[in-house]
């Protein structure tokens, strides 16, 4: 079984790989729904890794863990929502 040091070493490599993948996505000419979905998913994964394993909230107080985890559900979902329904959201938020 992996100890904590080995686990965070591997998670760091995963985070670096996901970042390089994001940079590749940034350079692509077109960004369709699949690209947006992947980028939202990458953000959700990176956020969850840092919250659970770097901040060590995986087994921490439930309120703090939940608040921090929810952040990385809401922002990726907003990325997808803004891509899918921009006009509707603009209509709802027009002053």
């Amino acid at each position: 079984m992996m100890n904590q040091t080995q686990l965070v070493d591997r998670l760091w490599l995963l985070l670096i790989s996901l970042t390089l993948f994001s940079a590749y996505m940034a350079e692509r000419d077109t960004q369709g729904f699949n690209s947006i979905l992947i980028m939202a998913l990458v953000l959700a994964i990176k956020g969850r890794i840092i919250v659970d394993h770097f901040m060590e909230l995986k087994s921490a107080h439930r309120l703090i863990r939940t608040l921090m985890r929810v952040y990385y559900y809401v922002i990726p979902l907003m990325i997808i929502a803004v891509y899918l329904f921009p006009e509707q959201i603009a209509q709802w938020t027009r002053l």
Partner: protein
């Protein structure tokens, strides 16, 4: 639902990682949640700008220096990794090793600031400023705010290194280290959100 926050001091290190513990102090978590709320407001402004000015927000990332953004993301993630390694080393009562990991994290904080200053200078030479359009106004507001966080976060890491060198922390008592660790991870979290929103997604 009633939830009681029970603070477990770091010196009770064998129990501080039991289910329900709080890494660091309650005060630092109040600060972190306030800062995350502040960044959330900025992200809401970004999303509103994107739906009301789709053309401006679609073209904006194309003119930014993606390489600088990517380098700073790698730098922040690595400094965050160094930070958790410093915490693990302290739990093993390896103060010198912990201080070395922290020195690495602080140096990377410095690298982040230098790369960001280079990026701002690069923007200026390419005619990008807060007045170019709404996208760049949001970009400067969000990234400069984050820049300040990295600045004082780096200064706080240097202070904790000094405290370690003074013998203030050991495997039983290292709450100051845990406080800066979770705060630094929060700064990292903010950046990994900023990077896709401003540099990647069009």
């Amino acid at each position: 639902m009633t939830t009681t926050l029970t603070h477990t001091p770091a010196f009770a290190w064998k129990s501080d990682r039991k289910p329900g513990h709080i890494p660091g102090s309650l005060a630092i978590w109040a600060a972190i949640l306030a800062e995350m709320s502040e960044f959330a407001i900025m992200f809401i402004v970004y999303f509103l700008g994107k739906v009301h000015h789709p053309q401006v927000f679609s073209e904006g990332p194309l003119l930014l220096n993606t390489t600088a953004g990517t380098i700073n993301t790698l730098v922040m993630l690595t400094s965050s990794f160094f930070m958790i390694r410093a915490v693990i080393a302290m739990r093993e009562d390896k103060q010198a090793s912990s201080a070395r990991w922290l020195t690495g994290a602080a140096l990377l904080g410095g690298v982040y600031l230098v790369v960001k200053l280079f990026e701002y200078r690069w923007n200026t030479t390419h005619g990008l400023s807060t007045e170019t359009n709404l996208f760049y106004a949001v970009y400067y507001y969000v990234t400069f705010n984050h820049f300040l966080h990295v600045g004082w976060g780096t200064a706080a890491i240097v202070w904790v290194i000094y405290r370690i060198n003074c013998g203030a922390y050991n495997h039983m008592e290292h709450e100051g280290l845990l406080n800066i660790a979770v705060y630094w991870h929060m700064i990292d979290l903010a950046w990994i959100t900023i990077f896709p929103l401003l540099y990647v997604i069009r």
